[in-house]
Each structure stands twice: as C-alpha cells, then as structure tokens.
C-alpha cells in the first residue's frame, strides 16, 4: 500500500510525463498546419491542380507564374533512379551479411555500414561534385557534368545502408523453422536462401526499399550540389533538373516574407512533405493487404 502523499506525487509525475510526450509529439501536426497556413494563398488563388501541373516557375514576373511540375518530375527521377541503382546492391549486401558472409567480415561490415549512414550529406554532395562530376566532364567531354543521374548515383550510396540494415533485419526475422527444415532436407545454402528465405522476407525487403525512397525524395544537399539546378522540365535521366528540396533551399533566403514567391515555396514544401508521408502510408497499406492475403503466399 502506498501513502497518500506518495500517491499524489506519483500522479503528478506521470501526468507531467504524459503531457510532455503528447505536446512534443504534436509538434509534427503543428509544423504541417503552419506550413499549410503559410502557403494557403497559393491553394486558394491558383488551385491545387494549377500549382501541380504548371511547368513554369517565374514567381517574380507580373503576373507570377508558379507551377512545380518540373520540380516534381526531377524529384521522382532523382529518387527513383537512386533506388534503381541502390536496390540490387543493397539487397545483395543484405543477403550476403545475413547468410554468406564469414563471421569476421560481417563484424567489420556492420559498423562500416553504420559509419556510411553517419557521413553528412554535404560531404557526399561535395565528393560527388568534386570527383564524379569532374570525371563525367573529362570522360564524356561535357561542358558541365551535373545531371539528375549524377545526383541519383550519389543518393544511391547514401541510401544503400538503410536498405541493407532493414532488409537484413527482415531476413533475420524469418522464423527459424524454415531454416531448420531446409537444412534437415539437405538443400544447399544457396537454395535455402534464394528460394526459401528471400521469398519469405520479401515484404520486409520491399518496406526497406520504400523507406529508402522517402529518404531519397527529401534529401537536399547532395541533390542541390549535383542535379544542375535548371528550372526546365527534364527530358531524361541525364538532363539537369531542380528537385523540390533544392528549390526550397536555394530560394527561401531570397524571397520576401509574405510575397507570392515565399508562399509558393511553402506550397512546394507542403507537396514534398505530403509525397513523403504518402509513400510511408502507402507501404503500411500494402503490408496490410499482403497480410490479408495470408502468409502462405507472401
């Protein structure tokens, strides 16, 4: 039994903790609402479809032209391209770590992957611009080697660690019965991994990929330094472009608060955030659908 004053003290402490947790978690919603409020004039005057489908960005003209289609397309090219490069390597490395790597090598690789996530994105962007872009310029005799492709390549290196860590966890979480049954039946290690473990872990590996996609879409510095930053609609992966994150970082400081330009940047920010959130909600829905179809056919 507790004494009344202790009980009172306990109540106070727990309510402090509950309110602190609630208030600080609501910060996310506060941020979204604030950004929505700042960008409101854009949505009410130009409209959602006009803003999303317009491909001309001249916010200082009179009347201002603001459409962010070319930035959205650039964002998708850069992030999608990064996954295209990162997925085979990331999955390969995850399978290697989970099943094939000799123990001492795995003991080195895991912290290495950890450290790769630690390297700041501006350093990746700098190395990409100073080494990779220079290489493209010399090798292919280009006036400037920046392109969506260069940005994708560096982004791929940045997201590989996330893909590896999450897919390795998925592979390891496959119930050990499958492993034991496979070994008891005398199938080879390759067969066990490729035909049993990987199909069973497919869901988690797909989730790792989607998380990496969300990360790649929001990445700013590396993309800013490598994508070339032209406001035209990119025609291919090897064109220049300016993804949403780069647009905001480059123009926010020079826009007059309260102007159309300023509001349009907040609208672009809102679009970027909603794209990232949609991707994350998308995988949750996908998982639930897969769950309903039953675990026998994953």
């Amino acid at each position: 039994m507790q004494y009344p004053d202790t009980e009172f003290k306990e109540k106070i402490i727990s309510s402090i903790i509950i309110s602190a947790a609630t208030v600080s978690s609501l910060l996310l919603l506060a941020m979204l609402i604030f950004i929505l409020r700042e960008s409101w004039p854009i949505w009410s005057q130009i409209g959602v479809s006009g803003f999303l489908s317009g491909s001309s960005w001249k916010p200082l003209n009179t009347p201002p032209e603001i459409g962010i289609l070319s930035m959205i397309v650039s964002t998708m090219w850069v992030a999608g391209g990064a996954l295209l490069i990162a997925a085979p390597l990331g999955f390969g490395c995850a399978v290697f770590l989970a099943e094939f790597s000799p123990r001492p090598l795995a003991a080195i690789l895991r912290p290495v992957i950890n450290m790769l996530t630690g390297i700041p994105s501006v350093v990746y962007g700098f190395l990409g611009a100073a080494v990779l872009v220079k290489f493209f310029e010399v090798k292919f005799d280009l006036a400037s080697g920046e392109s969506l492709f260069a940005a994708s390549l560096i982004l791929a290196i940045m997201v590989i660690p996330f893909i590896v860590a999450n897919s390795e966890a998925a592979l390891r979480s496959v119930a050990s019965e499958y492993r034991h049954a496979g070994i008891a039946l005398g199938v080879s290690r390759q067969y066990l991994t490729l035909r049993i473990l990987v199909p069973l872990a497919r869901k988690g590996m797909l989730g790792a990929l989607v998380l990496a996609f969300g990360r790649a879409m929001g990445e700013t510095m590396a993309v800013l330094m490598l994508a070339g930053n032209t406001l035209r609609m990119p025609g291919s992966w090897f064109d220049k472009g300016e993804p949403l994150s780069a647009l905001i970082a480059l123009e926010l400081g020079s826009s007059t608060p309260g102007s159309f330009h300023y509001q349009a940047l907040f609208a672009a920010g809102l679009v970027l955030v909603l794209m990232v959130i949609a991707v994350n909600i998308g995988i949750n829905l996908l998982f639930n659908r897969l769950q309903k179809r039953g675990d026998d056919f994953i």
Partner: protein
C-alpha cells in the same frame, strides 16, 4: 544445370555488393585524408578565415565553434522532451492507444525531410518571431530534427532493461518514479547516452536546416543566440560552391567527417557496454 549457374552468379553478386560497401567507405575516408590531410595544421584549426575573397586563407575556427554551439543548443532543447517521451512510451504508456499514436507521430517525424524543418523554423522563428538568421533558430531546427532520434534510441535503451527489475520493484511496493530513477534509468544510461551522441553527430552534419535558419558565410560564432553563426557543413558548401578553395574544402570535409565519425564510434562503444549492462 542452368539453375546451378544462376545460383553461382547470384552468390558472386552477393560477395561483390558486400565488399563494394567496404570499398566505398574506405575510398571516401582515404581520399579525404589524401586530399585534405596536408592542409590541416594548427593554423587551419585555430584561426579565422582570411584572404580575398574571404576563406581562401586562414582557418575554420569560427565554423568549428559555430557547429559546437549549434549541436549543444539542439541537445539542450530536445533532450528533456525526448527523454520524457521515451519514458512515457516504455514505462507509462506501453501498448496503450495514446502510446501507439505517439509512436506513429514520432516515426513520421523521423521521416520528415530536414529541409522542411528548416522551412518551418524559418517561417516560425526567423520571420514570425523576428529572430532573424540566428544561432537560436538553427539550434531549434536541429533540435526538432534530432528529437525523434533521441526518443527512439532512449525508448529502446529503456525497453532493453530486464523486465524482472520492474516486476520485483513493483512487488516490493516501490513507487514507479523511484524505480525509474534508481533502477531503470541507471541501467539504461549507457544506451541513452549512445543515442545522444548519435544524434549530435547527425546534427553536426546537417546542412539544409541551418542553411536557411542560422548559417552565415562569415561570423564570429561568439555564442550570442540572436546572431548568425558559421558552421562546418555550410562552410564546406560555400568553399566549394563559390570556388574559394578546393584544398580547404577537402580539409574542412575531413574535419567534419572526423568529428561525426568520432561521435558515431563513441556511440557504438557505449551501445556494446549497454548490451552487457542490461544483461547483468
């Protein structure tokens, strides 16, 4: 037979991709040391940027100082709310409905691009509250950015503490807050500290949020809250982008990477200490 060949090829691919990751990290670090190492000396570390244009000579001392101020401020702002949220999730809420929602919000917050946090703090702090481009605004932006990292790592450290401690304390009639303070927190301390170090490293390297809220090309970084500061990642960006000095850019990158990796390695060591402690 065909299948056997395919399996061999795939196996080869697994080895290649595993080793490639190792090669990439080694290449980055060796290249940075090779290009930046020769320019790091006491003058580079301890002097302010000089020359014309500014930054082509001298050192990066104000940028180092500014980065330390920024991450310290971020930690001061988000440590208490982060730890309290983690305590709620692991000790009070557990699997309740509210804890579920908070978990989801924290997870979504971790996915928010850092430039969006910069955008928010710019509108809220820099413009609306009139702070201007300042250490305070940058510290706040970084604090919001590392908040979910602190919550998740502290929560996991707390959850890793053996459940028996809670059961025993409870059955002896020890109050919840006393158990938490004297039994659970000390056993999770190493893991919580590791999470803090990781989040400091994350904050030290973040560029996008401070680029729009705090960073200046040149500043004394005295620690005054309402003045702009220099910061290592932004200084690196400026050195390279404005073609000031490629050599100094490599050297700055090396200093920044060393700082971040040092924090990461300390965190790794503490984490393995935590694993041993929570098993005791």
């Amino acid at each position: 037979m065909k299948k056997a060949i395919r399996d061999k090829l795939l196996l080869g691919w697994f080895w290649v991709s595993g080793l490639l990751i190792l090669v990439i990290l080694l290449a980055i670090i060796i290249y940075l040391i090779w290009r930046g190492g020769p320019f790091i000396n006491s003058q580079f570390i301890l002097e302010s940027p000089r020359g014309f244009p500014l930054g082509t000579e001298g050192g990066i001392f104000p940028a180092i100082k500014g980065t330390l101020w920024l991450i310290l401020l971020a930690l001061v702002v988000s440590f208490v709310p982060g730890l309290l949220t983690a305590i709620y999730l692991s000790e009070y809420g557990r699997s309740g409905r509210l804890a579920e929602i908070i978990n989801l919000l924290v997870q979504s917050m971790a996915g928010i691009p850092s430039i969006i946090i910069g955008l928010f703090v710019y509108a809220f702090g820099v413009v609306t509250l009139g702070w201007g481009i300042s250490l305070l605004a940058g510290g706040l932006a970084l604090a919001i950015m590392i908040f979910p990292v602190i919550v998740v790592s502290s929560r996991d450290a707390l959850l890793a503490v053996d459940e028996n401690y809670r059961l025993v304390a409870n059955s002896l009639g020890v109050s919840k807050s006393y158990t938490l303070y004297r039994v659970i927190l000390p056993r999770a301390a190493a893991g919580i500290t590791a999470g803090l170090l990781l989040s400091l490293g994350y904050a030290a390297g973040a560029t996008a949020p401070i680029m729009v809220t705090a960073a200046a090309v040149i500043a004394s970084s005295s620690g005054a809250l309402l003045e702009p500061v220099m910061a290592l990642p932004y200084h690196l960006y400026i050195l390279f982008n404005e073609h000031l000095s490629l050599n100094y850019a490599y050297a700055t990158a090396l200093v920044l990477v060393s700082l971040v990796l040092l924090l990461n390695i300390l965190a790794l060591l503490l984490n393995s200490l935590q694993e041993r402690m929570s098993k005791q």
